[in-house]
Amino acid sequence: MAPAQENVISVRNLRVGFGQRDVLKDLDLDLKRGEILGFVGASGSGKSVLARTILGLLPKRAGTIEAFGRNLDQVGEEERQAIERRWGVLFQGGALFSSLTVRQNIQFTLRENLHMSQRLMDEIAAAKLEMVGLPPDTGAKLPAELSGGMVKRAALARSLALDPEIVFLDEPTSGLDPISAGDFDDLILALQQTLGLTVFMVTHDLDSLHTVCDRVAALSNGKVIAVGPIESLLESKDPWLQAYFHGKRGRSRMSGKKK
């Protein structure tokens, strides 16, 4: 799929740190409309930090973040909230509200933001559950009653409740068995095509990177060292990228592909 050239999110010279240490140093990154961007990096290199900074959960030390063409530093409270409604987030652990049922979780933003009839909300929740591939009776369950894969799907349904333009996925396939992970990849791809989503995906899953991502960005030493289609990263001479993609696991993936 040829991604459009419009940037929905663009990050410039971003610096984020804790205490003495800067985790992200002068980081630049663009997210183009309609693409699925995979974001890789070693554990602890600051992948989640970048996502959390864009989402406004962490303060930044320098740099600018633009979303939908607006500098997030210059927007007021109301506009900020309007922007936040245009993106959805799937947290690593799902972060479903444990005291609400799955249906209530999905309806939460609908109920708080829109004046909708209960009937319509119920129907929408059922439709979202269907979209993420969960059986309708899941709606009445509490998050504690779901398996890991179902929690991820339910959380994805919640992040899609308001039909966001961008979704942030923090390691969506971690902790899933290969079949579920593959299904989840297909699901993301299908939803991206159905809803015209732009997806920012932090992941370590080499299969996800190969099958669903239009572009991949690699983070190392606080900077994006390479960004582009997966093939271009595979050919990169950077030692870390070499180790990442051509290490033991990467090689087995490649040889599997050639067969």
Binding site: E79, S98, L114, M116, S117, A144, D163
Partner: protein, 398 residues
Amino acid sequence: MTSGKARLKSLPFGVGANSVGVEPVFLQSELRGKKLVLSARGDWVAAHANEIEPQVESALKKQTRVDQIEIDASKVKRVDTIGAWLIERLKRNWESGGAKAAIVGLDPRYKVLLDEVAASNRQPPVPPKRETPLADTLAYIGMSAAESWVDLKALMQFLGHVMVAAGRVLMRPWSFRFTSVVNQIDRVGFRAVPIIVLIMFLIGAILAQQGIFHFRRFGAETYVVDMVGILVLREVGVLIVSIMIAGRSGSAYTAELGSMKMREEIDALRVMGFDPVEVLILPRLIALIIAMPLLTFIGSMSGLFGGGLVTWLYGGMPPEVFIERLRDAISRSTFEVGMIKAPFMAFVIGLIACVEGLRVAGSAESLGEHTTASVVKAIFLVIVLDGLFAIFFAGIDM
């Protein structure tokens, strides 16, 4: 109508259309021969759902005898899941009436979305069970009664478990977690001293003030010393300290153990071959049993000091006289009664706190529930126990 995007930017969701005087029209119906044409227009998105839905419903109410319906979506600018669903609902309702419905003119990029939505909500929703209020109340009472039986059993079982663990530690004294006990004593004992001192000082002072105020009418002010001395040493000291500790340390125990349970830390201990009761609970219980008499002692002294200060400043009784009278008013047994009760109170508080902590299930709500239950039950049992002790000590003339 302004474009949807601009409105989304400038106005919070859902507020927009209501504050505008004229209701925008999203759906118009028109009869063309034998065909009903429903023309949709505008942004069929979540922000307008509260306006679109009534228009869809009123279009459905006007259901006339036609067997062909055309939903003309050529003037629809944007569609999201909610809009797509409303279009689908429109179509589906007409179709269930036996008519033929077709959607025409919709921007092809929304076709996938509409197909996706068309597949959903095919099964009728399961209606939630509704019970009458009376049956609900009765069921609740029944369940609470059954629950208290379960509670009691769990407590007894846990008591047994603690005893076994204690026995095991006695057999192998080197496995006793001394460091852990010291750490816990620091947390529940040493750091509780300031608040206990402050509270008991105030309680002693209030008792003395009230005593002087009311006894003065009978000219019996000097008996205030007896009252403050006996009450603080025998009853109030240990009771207030117990209640404070149940609220302060009991709740902390429950929350700690509960979150450890939630994060599978307790299971981790178990599979590594440790007994969680021995590792986590025994040190906490022992720490509480050691700390509580000490706190009761400190608290009682602080209460007597507060009482003495008030009798001096408010009642005009010099401190020497207060101490002299106190010596006559109380005996060693008065002091002993209070101190003997303290470790038992500690044991009950600790036991309840730990048992509730281990019963926490997966959710944050459950953690809160059990922490509350821990404090409420501990305070209740402490007071019940105090009553039993009163009967016992009266029986043995102490």
